[in-house]
């Protein structure tokens, strides 16, 4: 008898609780900060061009080989507006084949590709999500504005500058050397 009452009480308590289920297409749960969505290319608003220089490191790293691209000389560089000598001309990611592993983001040395928060990409055609450069940049711009994106390199430089200001000058010189050594190596790899 007592246990029946206890059980009933429990049922009553749970039935009065607010439901946790979100009715999906109508309701969306908030995304986490680190949420991994499909990769997108970032846009450098300062010079109005993509960050991507078309080095193809990410293309080679992708485990599903779903990316491709070509590079051209950057017209902005000739005009002296940009520091990028080369720039991406065509880029395509077949988002339908992407497995969201994030390896492309990890190997990119130019902060040009980011895992955006885009995750609803269903399509009627099998290859309907072969996304080219404008689409990817659009996704990237959306992601950048949503998250107040700052290029990780800029962020790192800011932190390093802060540290350098705090630490004695000699140490700062050392860390700088380290950074350039790393850059050399990664460039070597890219080639």
């Amino acid at each position: 008898m007592l246990s029946t009452l206890k059980g009933m009480l429990m049922t009553l308590r749970t039935s009065l609780r607010k439901p946790v289920t979100a009715q999906y297409p109508k309701e969306h749960l908030p995304l986490m900060e680190r949420q991994v969505g499909f990769p997108a290319l970032t846009w450098d608003a300062d010079v109005s061009e993509p960050y991507c220089v078309g080095c193809m490191v990410c293309v080679r790293m992708c485990p599903t080989q779903c990316m491709s691209g070509t590079m051209i000389d950057n017209p902005h560089h000739a005009e002296g507006k940009s520091t990028r000598r080369k720039i991406i001309e065509e880029f395509e990611i077949n988002l339908g084949r992407c497995i969201l592993c994030g390896l492309c983001v990890e190997v990119c040395n130019f902060d040009a590709i980011e895992m955006s928060h885009e995750h609803e990409i269903s399509h009627f055609a099998r290859n309907g999500r072969r996304s080219d450069l404008p689409v990817l940049l659009e996704m990237g711009k959306k992601y950048q504005s949503e998250t107040n994106w700052i290029s990780p390199a800029v962020k790192k430089a800011a932190i390093a500058a802060e540290k350098a200001a705090a630490a004695p000058a000699a140490e700062a010189g050392e860390t700088k050397e380290d950074v350039s050594a790393v850059a050399d190596e990664t460039e070597g790899e890219a080639k």
Binding site: R34, Q35, V36, P63, L100, C101, G102, M115, V182, E189
Partner: protein, 360 residues
């Protein structure tokens, strides 16, 4: 002769059994596997080392962190990399959380197999807490791709330790609640006690590992007998069963969740607040020296072994996986002989197989 599966609601994946029956009793059984075969081992030969982690994620999809751990530990061993302390602690915490997460699903489906609907709700409630944490750490709920050879992809969020500590009491309570609900339930006991008995010697002969082996009374846990990573720094018990029946295999896992909580608590205490999360000297694509290595780790299902032959290149020459579920599944046949058809599903469930890893 009865054909069970591959599309059977309770075969835990795409798995087919052919049962020879005499009335209600099973005379003989023959498991058929291979419906989920993706050729992962062969694929590994064509992928760079960092890319292989994504394949391991997809083998045992209920214990992704443990699988990543298995592969990373293998490459670290052949290359002689020492992983920084902080990274190891974070790895262990995530692995143990993943173990609880996986056992929670086992707990729920075990209830379902016995005909009880409520346990899976309880199990998923607890899983949700862990999954949310995983999502905050790695950005994904399942295929994390978070461990790296020599460390981790990136620092976990700043409030990682607090968040883990925050969900522990709720998890402990959830485990107790679930335990109270199902373990000594009269119907459940009647269905699982003395059913599908496997003796210790048989279990050894069939190469069982993990909780299924320990249920038969053999105290063998790789975390203790051959500690990898930093498991030798923690104090925890290995639960051992007496009878090797379905109930024992179930109870082992419930007890293991409690022990995992203990490990996490200790790890949180010992974890350094600050420090590198990736070994120095690992940059770019790793190229292990020529040679071969075998490493085993304890996943929620048992002994996961990775045998790696390297020819010095950036891709493995050969990679062989010794999946725990595959070996555990071998014992299904002797266990099924002589039981009722209705118990077959429960016995299969008690082995806690993941077909992704059986078929690779």
């Amino acid at each position: 002769m009865v054909n069970m599966g591959p599309q059977h609601p309770s075969t835990h994946g795409v798995f087919r059994m052919v049962l020879w029956v005499d009335g209600e009793r099973i005379v003989d059984a023959e498991p058929h596997i291979g419906y989920l075969h993706r050729g992962s081992e062969k694929l590994c030969e064509g992928e760079l080392y960092p890319q292989i982690i994504t394949l391991f994620d997809r083998m045992d999809y209920l214990a992704n962190y443990n699988m990543e751990m298995a592969f990373c530990a293998t490459v670290e061993k052949i290359m002689g990399i020492t992983v920084p302390d902080r990274a190891e602690y974070i790895r262990v915490i995530l692995c143990e959380l993943n173990r609880i997460c996986s056992h929670m699903l086992f707990y729920g489906t075990m209830g379902l197999d016995a005909g009880a609907m409520t346990p899976i709700m309880y199990g998923f409630r607890e899983r949700e807490r862990i999954q949310n944490l995983f999502e905050a750490v790695s950005g994904a709920r399942m295929m994390h791709n978070y461990f790296r050879i020599g460390g981790l992809r990136e620092d976990p969020p700043d409030d990682f330790a607090e968040r883990v500590a925050g969900i522990l009491p709720a998890l402990a309570q959830g485990i107790e609640e679930g335990d109270k609900l199902l373990t000594y339930n009269e119907v459940f006991l009647a269905r699982s006690r003395g059913v599908g008995v496997l003796s210790g010697q048989d279990a050894l002969d069939y190469g069982l590992s993990g909780p299924s082996l320990r249920a038969s009374g053999i105290p063998d846990d790789i975390r203790v007998t051959e500690p990898y990573s930093i498991y030798d720094r923690f104090d925890f018990d290995i639960p051992v069963g007496n009878n090797g029946d379905t109930w024992d295999r179930y109870a082992m896992r419930v007890e293991e969740m409690r022990q995992s909580l203990r490990i996490i608590e200790q790890a949180l205490e010992q974890m350094p607040d600050d420090g590198p999360i990736k070994a120095t000297g690992v940059r770019g694509i790793p190229r292990p020296p020529e040679g071969e290595v075998y490493v085993r780790v304890e996943t929620p299902r048992g002994e996961m072994g990775v045998y790696l032959v390297s020819d010095g290149g950036d891709k493995p020459y050969r990679l062989k996986v010794r999946p725990p579920s595959f070996a555990n599944l071998q014992a299904l046949r002797p266990m099924l002989r002589g039981v009722y058809i209705a118990d077959a599903v429960m016995i299969l469930g008690s082995l806690d197989i993941v077909l992704g890893e059986v078929d690779r």
